[in-house]
Amino acid sequence: MIDSELAGKMVLAPLTTETSEADIRTFANDLEGINVYSIIVDEYYIQLAKEILPGRRIGTIVSYPLGSLTTEVNKKLIRKALDYGCSEIDYSPKFNHFKSKKYDLLKNELEEVVELVDNKLDIVAVPQVGQMTMAEIEKICSLFLNMGINIIKTNSGLNQGITEIEHVQFIKRIFGDSLEVEVSGGVRTREQAMAFFEIGADRIHSSTWKQIIGIDKED
């Protein structure tokens, strides 16, 4: 039986190199009658997703998962997201600037991103907790909040680490409800998802969403 309440807290992101139009269409069919929080697709598939998933929250990715694009390219992607009427962007800041303690450069881009978005969609920033110390997590989340970004997605893909319960406990203890937390990276089962919700996580990203909400049987 499908757990509708849990489904409403799931963010789905069919983001792989080989994701095809056929895959997106299959994905949309699988979602019929199921209300998830939102669906994140690559820029190439935004228009298709908007067409075949009408009325849903559709988002896209900006500088994700690596935080490696120039600010100009990030802004171009954001303009496209705004033109398409996306509900949110998953945005990776420049991790190299952060790790090099070049906080001014990091802030400059955050400022430009926030200004361009102008509250027209949600910015979900990625602190990449799997690659950070707890002190670094506190620092980068503080930077996000100071810039007016109050939603984070803990990790991006491509083997950049997993999110542990301790990460979310720490973030919630420091920032409380001022920061919405989407957990991503390593959540495979319903039991794991529930453990994160119990400590205050707001949403879960997982490729095994069908198992988590009860469509597929768990292994």
Partner: protein
């Protein structure tokens, strides 16, 4: 092949997302010192590398549409032009693998033609992520991108499974009578690995171990 020769076919690669600016500086200085063909880096680092490599024989490879490749022509064109403006001499772009899976060859042909058109005078390399493809798909991709006149067909981004020399042989067989060459990338750690790829037909190597390969090279 001498040490100098091997250096001239190596794209010394640094694509870790959280790499510090010191690390980018380090590979640029190595490239300048040993005459590597290029440094292969993210677009956000290109302006920094340009200053460090001014007056040297080494170029700058920008990783375009990394890592998923699922961008519209408009986005790929924008990022390529942005990277060239910032100083990139080589453009390594991830092809639309999803379109290849869907057998939408017109999408790929248009992409190949556009990328070639906006990179005249620069080195263009199309990345297939061969570990996701079957042999027929690899051959088809080689045909399409060689026909458009890309300088290199390239095996992989380095984030997923590394290519085998056998795959490089297949790619070489398809393109050998055209002006297009083969770049092998991913998993090339030693001089022995490099020799295997060269024997299979690769004339450019993407590796983060360029210095180790150079130092241990016996011609």
């Amino acid at each position: 092949m001498t040490k100098k020769d091997i250096a001239r076919i190596v794209d010394q690669t640094q694509l870790k997302p959280d790499v510090s600016m010191d690390s980018i500086e380090s590979i640029c200085l190595e490239a300048r010192l040993y005459d590597f063909a290029t440094v292969a880096i993210y677009p956000c680092h290109v302006p920094f590398a340009r200053k460090l490599l001014e007056g040297s024989n080494s170029g700058i490879t920008a990783a375009i549409a990394f890592p998923y490749g699922a961008w519209s022509l408009e986005m790929k064109e924008f990022e390529i032009k942005d990277a060239i403006k910032n100083g990139a001499t080589d453009l390594d772009f991830v092809i639309n693998v999803g379109a290849l899976k869907d057998k939408k060859y017109d999408v790929l042909k248009n992409e190949a033609d556009m990328c070639r058109k906006v990179t005249r005078g620069k080195i263009l390399k199309s990345i297939f992520e061969v570990c996701l493809l079957n042999e027929d798909e690899i051959i088809k991709a080689c045909e399409i991108y060689a026909q458009a006149g890309v300088d290199f067909v390239k095996t992989s981004t380095g984030f997923l499974e590394p290519p085998s020399p056998d795959v490089v042989k297949i790619m070489h067989e398809v393109v050998k009578k055209t002006g297009t060459q083969v770049k092998a990338a991913g998993g090339i750690k030693t001089a022995g690995d490099a020799k295997e790829m060269i024997a299979a037909g690769a004339t450019r190597l993407g590796t983060s171990s360029g210095l180790e390969i150079y130092n241990s090279w016996v011609g």
